[in-house]
Every structure is written in structure tokens, then in C-alpha cells.
Symmetry: C3
Subunit: 342 residues, 3 copies
Amino acid sequence: MPDPRFYAVAGPFTLAEIAQVVEAELTAGADPERRVSDVAPLSHATPEHLSFLVNSKYIEAFAACSAGACIAPAKLADRAPAEVAVLTSENPYKSFALAAQLFYPVPVPEPGMHPAAVIHPTADLGPECRVEAGAVIDAGVRIGARCLIGANVTIGPAVEIGDDTRVGAGTSLSHCLIGARVSIFPGVRIGQEGFGFAIDRGGHVKIPQLGRVLIEDDVEIGANTTIDRGSGPDTVIAQGCRIDNLVQIAHNVRVGKGSVIAAQSAVAGSARVGEFVQIAGQVGVADHRTVGDGVRLAGQTGVTRDIEPGGTYGGTPAVPIRQWHRQSAQLARLARGKAAPE
Amino acid sequence: MPDPRFYAVAGPFTLAEIAQVVEAELTAGADPERRVSDVAPLSHATPEHLSFLVNSKYIEAFAACSAGACIAPAKLADRAPAEVAVLTSENPYKSFALAAQLFYPVPVPEPGMHPAAVIHPTADLGPECRVEAGAVIDAGVRIGARCLIGANVTIGPAVEIGDDTRVGAGTSLSHCLIGARVSIFPGVRIGQEGFGFAIDRGGHVKIPQLGRVLIEDDVEIGANTTIDRGSGPDTVIAQGCRIDNLVQIAHNVRVGKGSVIAAQSAVAGSARVGEFVQIAGQVGVADHRTVGDGVRLAGQTGVTRDIEPGGTYGGTPAVPIRQWHRQSAQLARLARGKAAPE
Amino acid sequence: MPDPRFYAVAGPFTLAEIAQVVEAELTAGADPERRVSDVAPLSHATPEHLSFLVNSKYIEAFAACSAGACIAPAKLADRAPAEVAVLTSENPYKSFALAAQLFYPVPVPEPGMHPAAVIHPTADLGPECRVEAGAVIDAGVRIGARCLIGANVTIGPAVEIGDDTRVGAGTSLSHCLIGARVSIFPGVRIGQEGFGFAIDRGGHVKIPQLGRVLIEDDVEIGANTTIDRGSGPDTVIAQGCRIDNLVQIAHNVRVGKGSVIAAQSAVAGSARVGEFVQIAGQVGVADHRTVGDGVRLAGQTGVTRDIEPGGTYGGTPAVPIRQWHRQSAQLARLARGKAAPE
């Protein structure tokens, strides 16, 4: 059970309420007025709990569980113990996410400007914002309604932020326009100059970086991630992207809608990442390269050439994932002193 | 000699005092009442100094040194010049560390709450803490005795910190319980939400992250490192771990006692790192994988499968280090156009 | 055109003024008194604009452009449309950089100490400095003239900073001496203890880190980068280096004059990087290794042995770049099941 010092549980909720919120159907015979008071994994769930089966490898735990109710795919529903009410879902993982959100809604920040925040008189904040101690908000900043600006955040001149956006502690923003419902985690750096200069033995010459960072709606940006502003064009993170911790997004990069980038990956200058791309951890995309829509990149992949839409890639230089597995196998074979390929 | 603007030297100390602290024995004939006033490397040491031989490749420098005294392994003690007092140690590097700590003890922070710190009235701080300017400590926080909370640190509601822990400038902590004698360097991010959501074309759905981060006693966490809280289970860094800068520890990870993780490495969600594991820089451990006790991973290794206890590994995917060296050699051979394996 | 909320344009300037500043020559027939009012890429430039041809692959756009004037290499000047004034340069990219700096000079910060900055009475700041809200400057700090200390910056005791240096928001500095005209981006960590301890089953023993970080003049350090202080020797970043975001520089490292290190690269303890070295992203240099002057390292390279001056390298372990390309090609060939080398 979540530590009550940190998390407050809502509910209890009836199965009928839950079914509606989580986009699931209650199987015949279950009592829609039955109430559960929390979520729990299969191994820990009691009759008070809603649990979930998202992966068929946990089918035994499901068949033996003591939960009051359980979200599961329809085809596995009949494996539940008789006393467990089953909520069938086409996307049990999503349904679980929605259920967990129902029981543990993100707390609404109590509005108010802490007296130890420093807000420039020309900054314009919407209703019901919360600005915590030590936050510094500069001239001409515009912030929407119900935003949370964490402690020790720094927001530079003329930055704009949409409604319901949250900015974590110690983050700094400049030269950027941020959308609505964006989650920016602690220590993020957005809008500093890109890494651009003319190499010169007499002293490298800085190229002024005159673009912005545009963060569209519903984006999440992980802790200590860095997103440089464009050199002339903008750096753009499109709607719904999820970026993990310690990621580097260089100047002029465009990341398409719904893409996911795991920790410590980097997209170099002017590269393009398509829509709904999935990038695992520690991946590098070289400058000016394009990664097509829907591509998946395995951990530590190095993209040195453009990649067509679709497909999964691994290795440095990146190759189709099956080829990468064969390469690894052949290499192991060579190292054992066997004649190379069959 | 360390710059006196930044470091104050203690002492002088007698060789008898030093021998006791550094777990070494003074060789016969040396005067236990002789005093030295500082530590110095072999090449710079004068009769005022204590020096050290930790690696036999410096044996010539040792044999020619002018130090007043020197820590060395017993088997090399007779190589010292006659006028150098030798302190023999089974672990000269550890003895050197202890000697350096003797001459350069970590300064005790002067207790006090800076008037520009913002401490919630319900926060409970132990005796002799120092809280620097701009630190923001939220409701219900509990901090032990003699802690140092650096400037511009942010500590979220209900966080607990043990005795003698130090939190570097600009760090942010939330949803975590921190042990005693922990060193957290500047810019660290602990306790933010893990990277968890159900992928959905209509918009990825956040999975509430309802666990905590537990940092046990005597852990060190490097600058700008990020440690996400668990999704339901906790993220745990066990007693005595040493984590370097810019490391990523994802949700639900457990790092066992005494493990060491060098800079820019990442341990992905729900992975397990055993006890006394040594992970070099830029290593990635994939999600849900286990790295057994005592394993060593070379720089840039990519762990994609579980690794048994013991052994040294390299490459992506990780293979035993000798195999990795053979693979590299065979690959070089192939590139030279030679018939592959011998 | 740059967003006027974030950027103010200077000028207009005559072509004669521009030619002098950008180290270019106005071709015969062009009117030196003609004025242009902004810079723009070839595709967007109108007769009001100065544009630039830095890469011959844009020659068609150059030949068709509508710019008022254009910087180009002398050998391509005759390809410009008749109505475009051409400024010929031996280094058009550098000339463009200088032109962009002319039109978009870095704004001079308005001097002043924000009342919400916390400056120790013994700190000594030169004339015309700007210290923003939430900055914390400790005892004995010395800062030169015209420096910008950003919001929520923390500067530890006795740190020294030269003239015209800028320190970005949320950065922390300790145990370091910083030169003149240095640009430190937000979230940078300089001077914390290096990662040094004697491994011991009973508890690793910290080795006091008694050196400093020396940052020479004209260095740029990217966001969230970490530079540890030396253990006894200093960590040194020599004059004119450019370091990108999220880079790790360990204790005792020396990076030579004019070297460039891209994002997420790491230089491990006591390694030496020569002068004018170019390191791409996600590269690792192992501890105690030397990378010679003028070496170039491709993205994700892992340097495990010393590298002689000059030459380009790739792969892990690093090999000459041509060998790396051959290795990759042979590996792909093996994976296709072909007999290995030709």
C-alpha cells in the first residue's frame, strides 16, 4: 500500500464507477455496486482491492488471487477465481493506469504565491497558480491557469506557459513557449543556447542562437534533461511526447507527436524524429539524421544514417534488429574460434 | 599542497598517531614520535610529509623519495631510502585514504538556519544542522542531527533524512527516505515520478508512481544524478553504495550493498544490481534484468540478459570480458582482410 | 526572423561596415553604402537581408536567392544573381557567425544586485556585475567586472571568477578558479568532490579530494554538465574549450586548449585530452588515457588505449575510423551469411 505520508487514496469506488472510468466491462454475475478501496498487485491484493492482469505470464497469480476485482483481457477472464469480479479490457495496461489515476489522482496544488518567490511585476499569471518559494519569474512571462511553479525554478523573460502545466523544482526555462498540461520534472534546462560555433584555431566563433524551444501540449520531460533552443529555426517537441531523465535534445531538433525517448538518449543538432517513435535508453541520433515514424530503437543504438518509417533497429551503426542479433551471434562464434558463417 | 583558500590542514601528527589511524605498522627503527605535517605524492614529498606507495609501478619513485614517512606494502618496505620511516599496510590505498582524512578532515558545518532559507513550521530538524540560504524545506520533513542542507536545495513534503547527511546545492528531494551519513552532491534529483505510462495512440496514459526512494546509510550520490521513485515497490539504494555523476536509476530498481556505479551509467526500470557490483562509466542495464553479486562491468557495456554472480563483462550485448576482447580482435582482423578465425 | 520577444536586432549596417567586421571583401561593383537590416537563410532572404553560402550543396539556392547581400567563398561568388552583393570570405561560416553577432549582439546585462540575492559581506564583486534573485555568493568569493550571476546560482567559499563571465541559472560552483569571458550554462556543477575511494568490503573509504577546478578564459560549458575537482592535482579545462550539455569531466582530467566535447561524453579520472581535439556525442575516454592533439572521435567511441595525435577514430574499443567502417561492413556481411572477408 502506498505510504500515506506521500500519497492520499481516493475512493472507495463501485465496480460500475470503475468500469466506466477505466474503459472496461464488468463480466456477467459481478455486482456493479460492490466497492473496492485501493489498487494492489495480484500477489498482495485482498477482497478490498482492485488488481490487474496485464501480462499472461502472471496467469497463475491471477488464477490464485484474492482480489475483490481484477482488470484482465477478455480471453483470460474465465481463469479468475469465482469470487473475483473481472473487468475485461481491450488494453488492460491502460485500464490499470486509469484505475490507478482514479484511486491516486494527482493532487491539485493549493493556489498561492509564496512570499519568498520573486515575480516580476510585468509577469502575468493565470488564476489558481501556485508559485513556490525561491521561484524567480522574470519580466513579461505569461503563465496560464492552475500551473504549479516549483521551488527554486527560474523562468526567463517573455517565456509563455499554458494551463495546467507543472514545472519541477530547480528547473530553468528561457526562450521557450510551453503548452498546456506539460509536466516538466526537476532540474530540466530548456532554452539555453545551442552548441554552435565556427571552428577556428584563433578561437572558435560563437554562432548566435536565435530560435526558441516549442513544447507542445501534454508533453512530459524528465529530470535533468536538457533541450537547447534553435539556432534560427525552433527546437520542437510535439504533442504528447514523453522524454525521460538526462536526455539531450540539441538545437533545431524536431521530435514528432507521441514519441517516447528513454533516459540518457541524445538527439543531435537538426535531426528529425518522427511520430510515435520509441527510443530506448542511451541511444544517439547523429546530427541532421531523420528517424521515420513508428521506428523503434534498442538501447545504446547509434543512428548514423536516415531510417525509414517503421521497423526496429539496434547497434552502432544502427541496423535492423534481426541483423544486429545475427551480428552479435556471429561475433560470439568468431570469438570461440569457429569458422565464421555457416 | 592543497590550496589553503579551499582546504585547511590538521596536524602535525606523530607517526604513532598516524599508524593507529591508518591501520598500519611502523617498521622497526622508525621513531614513533617523529611528526609530519601534511601528505604529498612521492614526487613532491619532503621530510615534512607523509607519502604513500600504492602501486608497485611507482617503486623507483619510492626508492628515491625524500618523504619523512611513507605508507607501503610490507614486501616493498625494504626498498625505501634509509631516512624514510615506513608504515606497512595490508591495504596501502585504504591507509592512504585514512591518512588523507586525518590531515584533511571534512569540515564540520557551522550550525544555523540562514534567514533566507524557507523552513515550513511543521518541519523537524535535529540539533546542529546547517541550512543554507535559499533552501526550501516543506511540511512534515524530518531531518536528523548535524545535517548540512546546501543553498537552493528543495526538500518536498514528508521527506526524512538521517543524521550527518549532506545535501549539495540545488538538489531536490521528494517522496524519499534518506539514511545517515549519506552524501548527496549538487543537482541530484531524487523521488520524482518514474517513467511509466501505457502507450496509446490517443495519448499515452500516465501510470501513477506510488512508491518511494529509499537511500540507506553511507551512500554517496554524484552530481546531477537522477533516482526516480518506485511505481508501487520502492527504488532502493542499499547501504554503502557509491554512485557517480549523471547516473540514471529508474523506478523500482534495487542496487545492493556496497555497489559502485560510475558516471553516466543507467539502470533501467525494475532491474536488480547485486551487492559489491562494480559498474564502469556509460554502462546500461536493461529493464527487469539482474546483475549478480560481485559482477564487474566494463565501460559502455550494455546488459541485455541476466548476469550470474561474479565475473567481468564487456560489450553490447554484454559478454564475458575475455570473449569481448577476442571479438574485438577478430573484428579488427576481419577488417584487415584476413581470413577470419585462426 | 527571430522572435522579437526574445531577440533584439541591431543595425541596419552598411555592407562596408559588415565586410570589415566579418573579415570579408565586398566584390567589385557592389555599393559599400548599401544597407541591410537583418540576417536570413538563403531560402528566406529578401533584399533587406544579408545571407550566406557556407556549403556548396546549397549552390542552387544561392544562385536563385533574393538576398540584398550574401557571404560566400570567392570561387563561388560569380554564381550569385546580379542584384546580390557578394562578400567573399576565406571562412564563410566564421564570417556568418561574426555577421550574426553583429546583428544580434549578446545583450549587456543591466548591472545590479537583486535584493533577493544573498551575497556574503566578504565577497568582492567587480563593477557592473549583475546578480539575479536567489543567487547565493559565499565568503571570500571574488568576481570580476561585468559578470552575470544568474538566478538561484550557488557560489561556494573562495571561488574566483574573471571579467565578463556568465553563470547560468541554478548552477553551483565550489573549489574552482574561473577565467574571463567564460560562459557557464544553467545547471552546471563545478568543483564537487571527485569519485575517489578505496574499495573495502567493510565500507569503501573516501579519499579526500584536495584539488581544484581551473577553467581558463573563453571556455563554454553546457547545461547540466559536471566537472569534478581534482584529488590533489587540479582538473583543468584550458583556454577556448567548448563543452556541450550533460558532459562528465572527472577529477584530475586536463582538456587542452580549443578542444570541443559534444553532449553526454565523459572523460574519466586523470585522462588527458590534447589541444583542438574534437569529441562527438556519447564518447567515453577511460581513466588515465591520453587523446593526442587534433584527434577526432566519432559519436559513441570508447577510448580504452592512448591515442596518438591526429587522426579520426570510432568504435569501442576505438580504432581508426576507416577500420571501424570496414569492421561494420564485415559484420553486416557475416550477418548476411556470406563468407567473411573478400
